[in-house]
Symmetry: C2
Subunit: 137 residues, 2 copies
């Protein structure tokens, strides 16, 4: 069946692999939870169903966030940036955990600068809320 690309989707600039980065942000707290990738199909399904759907580059397939973990992201607001090449999802994170490590956010490593630049490091500063082995049974 032939389908026409809707005008809103035509404004979105996917990269040469047909993907666009998408940021998930907690709609109430503003915390940045994760960044994943979408293709046109994932973005369309997200827009139509109100549930965050991505393209998994590692598994090379559509990834309905929460399909295994139950940690679904319910869409509150969808935004596009000035260049049309980044998507922002403001969402409600079911279960309060976005990261596969069992943390609220994937951005749990903070840069700690040292006087000796060679000794600077990334320090884990956010707690694991749930054992991943219990999440992905």
């Amino acid at each position: 069946m032939m389908t026409t690309t809707p005008a809103w989707l035509a404004e979105v600039k996917f990269d040469t692999q047909g993907l666009i980065p998408a940021i998930s942000q907690d709609a109430s707290t503003g915390q940045i939870l994760m960044v994943a990738w979408m293709n046109a199909e994932a973005l369309t399904e997200t827009a139509n169903t109100g549930r965050a759907v991505f393209w998994s580059r590692s598994r090379n397939r559509i990834w309905r966030k929460g399909e295994e973990s139950g940690h679904i992201q319910q869409l509150v607001e969808l935004r596009l940036d000035c260049d049309g090449d980044v998507i922002l999802l403001k969402i409600d994170q079911i279960g309060g955990i976005a990261c596969h490590t069992g943390r609220a956010s994937c951005f749990y490593r903070r840069f700690e600068q040292s006087a000796d630049p060679q000794a600077s490091k990334w320090v884990t500063v956010d707690p694991v809320l749930k054992d991943p082995e219990l999440i992905y049974k």
Copy 2:
């Protein structure tokens, strides 16, 4: 002169083009302001100087954010995600404008869903705070 890659930088996974996406987030409000790209040099300079420095893909050179506009981003906190392939900058946005359109944030277009999916659209919902012609004199 030979230099050794610091351990913290070795943990950062740049893509095949040597780049990593970096999100700038207002440190006080949590608003997502923009997404740009960094190479190892830009990330190192950002970490060392406390000022956001990117790699401009369009100009193919180091881009010290604010070098023309004065809209410098002062680093408050630097974070890395679980996969090591996205950078988060929590920053103070000098001048309150991150976008080249003169808006606070680049994410000023909101998706407005229509009952007819073909009629859904991106709607500009945030105001221009300063005429870009006055910013880039």
